[in-house]
Amino acid sequence: MDPSVMASIGAAVSIIASAISASYAILSCAPALASVTSEKPELGSKLLIAIILGEALAIYGLLIAFMIISRLPTITTEEAGLRALLAGISMGGSAAAASLGISYCGPALMTATVEKPESYTINILGLVLSEALAIYGLLIAFMLNV
C-alpha cells in the first residue's frame, strides 16, 4: 500500500476511535451527573471531572491525527507509513479502553459521592487510572510517529 494512504488511514482511525470513545464516556457520565446535580447541585463542579476526562480522549485523538497529517509529506517509506498507521491504531484503541473504564467508573463515582461525599477521593482513583490508559496510548503513539 502507498505509505501516505497508510498514514492517512492511521489518522482517520485515531480521530474516529477517540471521538467515539469520548462520546461513549460522556453519554454515560452526563446523565448520571444530571441526576446527581438535581439532588445536590453543589457536587456538580466536583463531579464534572468525569465528563472533562472523557472529552480529553477526543483531544488526544485529534492530536495524533494532526501529528500524522502534518508529517504526511515526509512519510515516503513503507515503514514510516506503517508506523503512522500503528500510531493511529494504538491511540484509538487505548482511547476506547479508557472510555470503557470512564463510562463504568464515572456514574459509580457520582452515585457513591451523593451518598457519602467523603468517599470521593478513593473512588476517583478508578476514574483517573482508567483515564491514564489513554495517556499511555498517547505516549506510545507519539513515539511511533516521531
Binding site: 480529553a56 483531544i59 488526544y60 494532526f66 477521593t121 491514564a132 495517556i135 499511555y136 505516549l139 516521531v146
Partner: protein, 665 residues
C-alpha cells in the same frame, strides 16, 4: 427482678415546684423565639416584601438572659408593627385594587400586561386618597362600560327592526342629514325612538307609505348606525382610561415601596429576623447542654491559645461559680482542626485543597504548597507567552472586581471565576515563564526562540522545541515527576516527625533516598537498558544508593512493632513511585496537545516565521479562545488530578474536621 414502688409526690410538691419552673424555661423561650420569627415573617408577607440576608449581623440587645432579650425584641416588634400599620393598609388596598383591575380587564378579554402606558403624573394627594379615587373611577368606568354594552345591544335590536320596515318600503336611500346626539344616547332617547318605530310600523300597515315617513325612518336608521359606529371607539377610550388608572395604581404602589420609612421598617424587620435566628441557634446549642435548676454542664473544644481567654470569660459570666476541667484529647477523639484563614489571593487554592478534605491537627496545611505547585504544573502544560498574558490580564481584572462585587449576589459560574482571580494570575505568570523556555507565542509561531535554562544530565530545562523533540519533553516531564514525588515524600517525613512517628519518618526518608538514588543511577548509566553496567562498573554506587536504603527499610520494618504498617507503606510507595512517575508524562502529552492545537490554527492562518499578518489575527483569536476554554479546562482538571491523586495523598490525609466555633455577637 425489681419491685416498683409508688411514691407519693404530692407531699413533696413544694420541693419540686421550682425545679419544674426551671425546666420549663428553655421550652418557653423556644416557643417565644419561634413566635417572633413567625410574626416577622407574617409582617413581611403583609408588606409584600422579601426578607433580606443582612451582610453584617446586628448585635443582640445587651441583656443577660435570653428571656430579657426576647422581651425587648418583642417590644421592638410590636413597635414596628404599629409603625407599619398605615403601610399595611395602603399596600393591601393597592394590591386588591390591582387584582380588581386585572379582573375587570379579564372580563373585557384584554391582557393587562399587553399594554403598558406610562403615566407618572402624581397629584399632591396622599397615596391612600389616590387609591380611593382610583377605586371610585374604576367603578364609574365599569358602569360606563356596562351602559355602552347595553346601548349597543339595544341599538342593534332597533336596527334589526328597521331592516324589514325599510325593505317593505323599498325606499331608496337619499342623502339624509345625521343628527348629532350625545354619546352614549340617553335612555329616554332610545325609548322615544322605539316608540316612534312602533308608530311608523302601525301607520305603514294602515296607510300607504308617504315621503315624510320614509324620510323619518331613514334619519332614524342613519342616527342609530352612527351611534353603533361610535361604540368601539368609546370602548377603546374606556379601556385606555382603565389601563392608565392601573399604571397609576402601580406607580403609587412603587412609590409606597420606595418610601424611606418603609425601607427603615424593612431593615428593622430583617435585623429582628437575624436576631431571632441567632437566638434560635443559641437555644439549639443550649438544648445540647446538660442542665438542672442552677447548674449547666457542657463540653467544648477550645484552641489551646485561647484557653485562658475562654476561662476568664466563663469566670466573669458565672461570677466565679464554675469548675473547668481541662483535658487533652484522648486517642479516640476526633480532634477538629483550627484552620487559619488564608489571604483572599489564595482562596481558590484553599477551596481546591479542601475539596479533597481538611487537614488533621499537626499536619502540614498544603494550601500554600498547592499555590506553588499548581501554577507550576499548569504553566508547563499551558506554556505560551501570549495566552499566558491573556490569562494574567483576566486574573487581574477578576481580582479587581473581587473587591468591588458582593460575592453572594452574583451567579454561580461568575462566583467561581471571582474566587479564581489569584489562581489565574499565578497560572498566567507560570505559563509566560514556560512559554519563554519552550519558545511559544500563540503556538510555535517562531516569534520566540526556546531559552535553555539549565541542563541536568540528560534533562534539558527549556531550550528545545517540543513539537520536534517530543522525547526531550517526555524526559523533562519525568524529571518534574520525580521532583514532585520527592517533594511529597519529604513532606511526609515532616508530617511524621510532627506526629512523633519517628520510625515511619525514617522509612519515608529512606524512600526518598532510594527514589532519588535509583533515579540518579538510571540517569548516570543512560537508562535501564545498560543495567549490566550498574553492577559491573557502578557497584559501589549501587550499594550506596540502592542496596543500603533497601536494607535499612527492611531492618527498620522488621524490628518495629508496627510491622504491618511499615510493610503496607513500603508496598504502597513502591507501586506509587513507579506508577505516579509515569503518570507525570501527561505533562508532556498535554503540552503537546496544547501546542498542536495552536499550531493547527497557525497553519490555517498562514503564519510563517513569526509574521502575523492582519488577516491571520481573527483566526488566531478563535484558536486562542478555544485553547483558553477547552484546553484550559482539560489542563486544569489534569493539574487537579495530579495533585489529588499523585502529590497530596503522599503526605496529606484529608480526614480532619474543621473547627467551627460557636459564634454569637
Amino acid at each position: 427482678m425489681g419491685i416498683a414502688h409508688s411514691i407519693d409526690v404530692n407531699g413533696e410538691r413544694q420541693l419540686f415546684d421550682n425545679l419544674f419552673e426551671e425546666y420549663a424555661v428553655p421550652c418557653e423561650v423556644a416557643t417565644q423565639c419561634s413566635d417572633i420569627l413567625t410574626r416577622v415573617d407574617r409582617k413581611f408577607e403583609e408588606l409584600e416584601q422579601k426578607p433580606e440576608e443582612l451582610s453584617d449581623k446586628p448585635p443582640l440587645p445587651s441583656k443577660t438572659t435570653l428571656r430579657e432579650i426576647l422581651g425587648e425584641m418583642e417590644q421592638k416588634l410590636s413597635e414596628i408593627e404599629n409603625r407599619s400599620k398605615p403601610f399595611v393598609e395602603t399596600i393591601k388596598l393597592s394590591s386588591s385594587l390591582v387584582r380588581k383591575f386585572d379582573q375587570v380587564l379579564r372580563t373585557w378579554k384584554i391582557h393587562p400586561k399587553k399594554v403598558v402606558i406610562k403615566n407618572t403624573s402624581f397629584s399632591e394627594k396622599s397615596p391612600q386618597e389616590m387609591l380611593l379615587d382610583a377605586e371610585q373611577k374604576l367603578s364609574e368606568i365599569e358602569r360606563g362600560f356596562e351602559e355602552i354594552d347595553k346601548t349597543a345591544t339595544r341599538c342593534s335590536s332597533i336596527l334589526s327592526r328597521i331592516a324589514p320596515l325599510s325593505k317593505s318600503l323599498k325606499a331608496k336611500a337619499p342623502e339624509v342629514p345625521v343628527q348629532e346626539i350625545p354619546f352614549p344616547p340617553t335612555e329616554k332617547f332610545l325609548a322615544f325612538i322605539e316608540l316612534r318605530l312602533l308608530e311608523i310600523g302601525n301607520s305603514l300597515i294602515a296607510n300607504k307609505p308617504n315621503d315624510s315617513l320614509i324620510k323619518e325612518l331613514l334619519i332614524i336608521k342613519a342616527t342609530i348606525t352612527h351611534v353603533m359606529e361610535q361604540v368601539p371607539e368609546a370602548k377603546a377610550d374606556l379601556i385606555k382610561q382603565t389601563l392608565e388608572l392601573r399604571s397609576l395604581v402601580d406607580g403609587v404602589k412603587q412609590s409606597i415601596r420606595a418610601d424611606p420609612e418603609l425601607q427603615a421598617i424593612h431593615f428593622d424587620l430583617s435585623s429582628l429576623r437575624e436576631m431571632a435566628r441567632e437566638i434560635d441557634e443559641l437555644i439549639k446549642v443550649e438544648s445540647n447542654m446538660g442542665r438542672c435548676a442552677t447548674t449547666v454542664f457542657f463540653e467544648a473544644w477550645v484552641p489551646k491559645l485561647q484557653l485562658e481567654k475562654v476561662a476568664k470569660e466563663i469566670k466573669d459570666i458565672t461570677q466565679g461559680k464554675y469548675i473547668i476541667e481541662e483535658a487533652p484529647p484522648s486517642t479516640e477523639d476526633v480532634v477538629p482542626t483550627v484552620i487559619k484563614p488564608v489571604p483572599r489571593f489564595f482562596e481558590a487554592f484553599e477551596k481546591l485543597t479542601f475539596s479533597l478534605g481538611y487537614p488533621i491537627p499537626g499536619e502540614v496545611n498544603p494550601v500554600y504548597i498547592m499555590a506553588i505547585t499548581f501554577p507550576f504544573l499548569f504553566g508547563i502544560m499551558f506554556a505560551d507567552v501570549g495566552q499566558g498574558a491573556i490569562l494574567l490580564t483576566l486574573g487581574i481584572i477578576l481580582l479587581y472586581f473581587r473587591g468591588k462585587v458582593d460575592i453572594n449576589k452574583v451567579g454561580d459560574i461568575l462566583r467561581y471565576f471571582l474566587f479564581a482571580g489569584g489562581l489565574f494570575v499565578l497560572c498566567g505568570i507560570s505559563a509566560i515563564f514556560f512559554g519563554f523556555l519552550f519558545g511559544e507565542f500563540f503556538g510555535p509561531s517562531g516569534v520566540l526562540h526556546p531559552i535553555l535554562l539549565i541542563t541536568i544530565g540528560p534533562f534539558q530545562i527549556g531550550g528545545f522545541d517540543p513539537m520536534h523533540e517530543p522525547l526531550s519533553m517526555l524526559r523533562f516531564a519525568i524529571f518534574i515527576g520525580v521532583i514532585f514525588l520527592s517533594l511529597g515524600l519529604v513532606l511526609r517525613v515532616v508530617n511524621n516527625i510532627k506526629k512523633h512517628r519517628l520510625k515511619l519518618a525514617f522509612i519515608s526518608s529512606c524512600w526518598v533516598w532510594l527514589l532519588l538514588g535509583g533515579f540518579f543511577m538510571w540517569v548516570y548509566w543512560g537508562g535501564i537498558s545498560n543495567i549490566t553496567l550498574w553492577f559491573a562498573e557502578g557497584t559501589l554506587m549501587f550499594l550506596g544508593l540502592i542496596v543500603s536504603p533497601v536494607v535499612l527499610i527492611s531492618v527498620v520494618t522488621a524490628t518495629s512493632g508496627t510491622i504491618m504498617e511499615g510493610i503496607d507503606f513500603s508496598i504502597e510507595v513502591l507501586i506509587e513511585s513507579l506508577d505516579h512517575t509515569i503518570s507525570f508524562s501527561r505533562l508532556a502529552a498535554l503540552f503537546l496537545t496544547h501546542t498542536a492545537l495552536n499550531y493547527m490554527f497557525l497553519i490555517i492562518a498562514g503564519v510563517e516565521n513569526g509574521v502575523f499578518t492582519l488577516q491571520s489575527i481573527p483566526i488566531i483569536m478563535v484558536g486562542s479562545i478555544l485553547a483558553l476554554s477547552i484546553e484550559g479546562l482539560v489542563i486544569f482538571v489534569h493539574c487537579l488530578r495530579l495533585h489529588w491523586v499523585e502529590l497530596l495523598p503522599e503526605f496529606y490525609s484529608g480526614k480532619g474536621i474543621p473547627y467551627k466555633p460557636l459564634k454569637v455577637k
